[in-house]
Symmetry: C2
Subunit: 670 residues, 2 copies
């Protein structure tokens, strides 16, 4: 079956993100393939990447101005039919036909659609059983309830339904929509079947040290810790003067439909539904570095062992989608300077697309000194500023916000920065109780210890697609004739030969490098490479035989290497919602595939254990973690020597006393 396809598609680059008409084409084709009684209910539609072997031909042709191969645009559709059957279709929207449509096994469920969650909140709050429970609270006048429908996660291998755990909160009676209900958690939590919309059972939440629960009683009024400026009671007493980033000659970058050129860097940025965005085909100074880089998965397991909290393990990409929960970014709020935005797309259950405007922002920023040297004999200084190009997206996953920044630097390095902010996921706690797995962050409100463990999928092309991964340790030399004073140390390189993981080893200064054994640096006489620097961190704490571990093998180790496959996209597998086990790295890192001098994938795990502090409430100052990706014997010298020297004719900084009009201070009169 084929339908008419709009003309524009011929101009779309294969790396560009999905277009609205493509979503419409795909959803129409899928809906038309079922009787109307099937009630096709979409939950996610997006483009899949073209097969890499095709794309390499395309990129080669593009580079040489040769005729471009025809690469069809293919979309995936996740949808339910007949209420509870979960399906995946692949649709060629270039020619307009369904490639496959497959009903998934019972128990495999898809990600939640954001609007389904909003609907679930209303369904829950209006359900008679829940209303009866709310009634027992005898809330003060004007007070109501809110609930956050939560990923149910896993504790029963026989569970095949798509369940939702609704965490209930009091909404204070101030009549303000932005009141912080997370400050006032309730001690009952209804569970619903998200597909049949039926009430399953009422869970009660413990308030003391152990798992003991109590029936609902009238709510004990406590102050709500508010974050919104209208409500938080703060006097804006700080005299923060404007600090403006001006670029009078415009930005140093160009962006054409997501294709960025900046300071020797070239790459394509494309927003997507699941990952937020991906960066394709990145090169610096004409040399390939990466074929594709993106966030691939994140799991957030909580450490409170008491039911039903033992199931709190979110997979924020697989269960919900980072892109579809992406913020609409605003000028002067989310970044400063001259800003380039990209739009993303979400879908409605009927398959209609909607724009998520400005979901990715891109801008330049100054980050201090890049390099400096002063010749002490002459006092002459050489100094260049560190300019960065930032690709940023922010996802709101219910209570939490995640800010993902890819920072491309003028010296050929890339920093992947994650900032966790937003609001802690809170639990009720009785007066005068403390628990060893959580921090009391407000009156009768506790924030459980948890972990954020993210996997970044790095598809390298360091001077080509045949790459190897090594790890390098620094060891002391034995004390002997060569090293009589016991001060010598050397490095030892180990190749990752088979698909698997590398253990962390900060005390041997272990570093991971992606190298190309076929290209030797003429200076160092070693293979060219890029280094992946990840801070040493505690990985997943859960027992190896727990569901938390089985579902997220990726979260147990810091670095994984697998042989390239078009299908291996998501670290915990394609379908994580209520998964019983991992279908990602736990399967692919099989110890069998050769990964030396092959087309490889590198998976970098960034983990951090979050022990909440009172200061993280009611809204959390960012906790920031960074992966540094740096050229390592890739260039034949510092590749930033061609930057202009920093000087004040260019940078126009001023003395504090000359602008403030105050007298010069801190100056000694000799």
């Amino acid at each position: 079956m084929e339908i008419a396809v709009e003309k524009q598609s011929v101009k779309i680059h294969p790396f560009e993100g999905v277009k609205d008409f493509e979503i419409r084409t795909a959803s129409k084709l899928v809906k038309d393939a079922y009787p109307s009684t099937a009630n096709v209910h979409f939950v996610q539609i997006d483009k899949i990447d073209p097969p890499k072997k095709d794309m390499l031909r395309y990129l080669e042709a593009e580079k040489h101005g040769a005729p471009l191969p025809n690469i069809p645009r293919v979309l995936y559709c996740y949808y339910y039919t007949n209420t509870h059957e979960f399906n995946k279709a692949l649709v060629n929207v270039s020619i307009g036909h369904i490639i496959t449509k497959v009903k998934q096994p019972q128990g495999v469920v898809g990600p939640f659609l954001p609007e389904d969650m909003l609907e679930m909140e209303i369904l829950c709050n209006e359900h008679p059983v829940v209303k009866a429970e709310i009634e027992k609270l005898k809330l003060p006048k004007g007070y109501t309830v809110r609930n956050d429908p939560w990923i149910y996660a896993t504790d029963d291998p026989n569970e095949k339904r798509l369940l939702v755990q609704n965490f209930m909160y009091v909404l204070a009676g101030n009549g303000h929509t932005e009141s912080n209900h997370y400050s006032l958690p309730l001690k009952f939590s209804p569970v619903f079947d998200a597909l049949t919309k039926t009430f399953i059972r009422m869970d009660y939440l413990p308030g003391g040290f152990d798992a003991t629960t109590t029936p609902t009683t009238p709510w004990q009024e406590v102050p709500c810790v508010e974050y919104h400026p209208d409500l938080n009671g703060e006097v804006l007493s700080r005299d923060v003067k404007p600090l403006l980033v001006n670029q009078p000659e415009g930005p140093s970058f160009t962006c054409d439909r997501g294709k960025v050129k900046w300071q020797g860097w070239e790459f394509q940025v494309a927003p997507n539904a699941r990952e937020g965005f991906a960066v394709y085909n990145a090169s610096f100074k004409g040399r390939q570095v990466f074929y594709r880089v993106s966030l691939s998965e994140m799991t957030v397991p909580y450490g409170d062992p008491r039911a039903p909290y033992h199931r709190k393990q979110a997979f924020d990409l697989g269960d919900c989608g980072f892109g579809v929960n992406g913020n609409k970014l605003h000028l002067g709020c989310d970044c400063l300077g001259v800003i380039q935005y990209l739009d993303g797309y979400g879908i409605h259950a009927n398959g209609e697309p909607y724009v998520i405007p400005n979901t990715v922002c891109m801008h330049e920023q100054d980050n201090g000194i890049l390099y400096k040297h002063v010749n002490y004999r002459t006092d002459n200084a050489v100094v260049a500023r560190k300019r960065e190009f930032v690709v940023q997206t922010i996802a709101t996953v219910a209570n939490y916000e995640y800010i993902i920044n890819f920072k491309f630097v003028t010296d050929g390095s890339i920093d992947i920065e994650v900032r966790a902010t937003g609001i802690l996921s809170t639990m009720p706690i009785d007066e005068n109780v403390t628990v060893p797995w959580g921090t009391i962050v407000g009156p009768n409100v506790m924030a459980a210890y948890h972990q954020h463990i993210l996997s970044f999928r790095i598809d390298p092309s360091v001077d080509g697609h045949k790459n190897s991964v090594i790890y390098e340790d620094t060891h002391k030399l034995p004390k002997d004739e060569l090293n009589p004073f016991g001060i010598g140390f050397v490095t030892q390189k180990t190749f990752v030969e088979k698909a698997g993981f590398v253990e962390q080893s900060p005390f041997t200064n272990r570093s991971y490098k992606i190298i190309n054994e076929n290209v030797i640096n003429p200076i160092s006489k070693t293979p060219v490479g890029y280094k992946i620097g990840i801070p040493a961190k505690q990985m997943l704490l859960a027992d190896p035989d727990s569901y938390n571990s089985k579902r997220a093998a990726f979260a147990t180790q810091q670095l994984w290497v697998t042989k390239y496959s078009d299908e291996q996209m998501y670290a915990a597998g394609e379908f994580t919602n209520q998964s019983q086990y991992d279908t990602g790295l736990g399967v692919w890192a099989n110890g069998e595939d050769n990964v030396r001098n092959e087309d490889v994938l590198v998976w970098a795990t960034m983990g951090f254990t979050h022990i909440p502090r009172v200061e993280d409430f009611p809204v959390m100052p960012v906790e920031t973690h960074t992966i540094h990706i740096t050229p390592n014997n890739f260039f034949d010298k510092n590749p930033a020597l061609d930057l202009p020297q920093a000087n004040n004719t260019f940078n126009k900084s001023v003395l504090a006393n000359s602008t403030s009009g105050e007298k010069a201070c801190c100056k000694t009169n000799l």
Copy 2:
């Protein structure tokens, strides 16, 4: 003996840095105490801090507007007499008398005076033996030599002289003062007695795999890898457009003789000769946090075991001084925006002071988002920007540059950031040779692996001066009735009871906290505290019985706690130059002093092993490491809620297409 003291001194705050007239007073008093034949030769003069017990009375009086106690200003003077006798004097410059002057034991030597190093270079290059050796090089016309006099360090317990190891380099014949001699190291290295100015011996440097050396032969011409824009052959092809930081209403801070007030923070910044600067009496929102924080020492041991490289272990503070080697910072080069500078002082050998202008710069900067939350029900965002106040100094220690940034943040946190840049210390290497302890970074030039290990001395006053240090580990719970699914985890706190160190333990998520057991946070019901976050790193690699380790016990562990003492200022001890053993933490962390609920000192070690890459040459893009110091259950909620919300009326950002005049790109027309 007393002399007239200038009037200004009465107005000087005890925390302010040394003044020129104080240096003159001190050096005159010292010189007058000796016969002129003693040839007093000063190498360092600076202020010492007042006794803390006196200062606490002073600060208390100051706070309440009471009459201020009289705190004399006391300077220390390091100087040689009769050529080789090393002395230390303490001089009360408020009343003008010498408190003590003590001849140090033979073998104890002081830091080098920068001008003595310049003189040493000339002495060496003009010495007949050296000239004869240079002659053998048969350098091309126009080519000359340079040498970097290096800290001799230690390998002989009987060595009592102050020796200098001169590393020799070819200066290319381009006639340019900024030519990079580090690219052209030579294979001989004269040793001189720095005090008697006598030639001691000629060391020859190995060029092959082992320690074998060869006599000097004619120099094999190789290209010089240049960094200076006049010489490096780069075309400035990058079109970097200006990015200006404008503060039209002036800065948000005030600075009165180094006393800074900014966004709830109050503290005194004072440059000094040894540490660069120190920050005193820091409080946030009226609550004490630190009495004093500074860099205390840095050691840089090299891993090349071959003589004479086995002695390469610099102590950049104790051997040279960070402040006296501080850069003169320039507008638009070293930081952007509205800049406040502070001057430092160096001295000449005759005791005369000179100004090091602008050696500390201070400014505000934006660092992205501080916190954000979006209510997904209403799409309302709350977002505040992260504004930082940066105190920066940069020291040039021969080849290397170190950038030290203390960043005070609007949420009550402080980041201590170190950026290493400058030029690698290089060694000659023969063609077609590789070594396991170094990287070839240019033709016939090798950069040995080395470590940079810094100690920051933190004198806390978290809600008062009686503080305790704990470390907190995160452990999984046993799988049992309470934790049937094996997902629970909890924290375990351990008090540091006695002066000593805490081992690193990243895989238990170990965190260090300075707490005040006498002040309980009303929300969390735990002691108020500040957390010290240091990335897990390899510490000193040298054998425990090597000189490298014995001289720098501080470098073997990440966190040390000692009982407060006015005398315990420098992690490796007061005199590090050619030291045989540590007189710092190795002595003070004695396992005996009680440090619980006492006035304590916390010493944070930031270490990194530097395996040079070709890209680090000829000038190194910054390698950045950070210690995060954050309030931890100190406040009763996020202390930055009183910041104004980010908005574009204030921040005035613009769309890329509106300034560049290009058509809107990356926008889909729906």
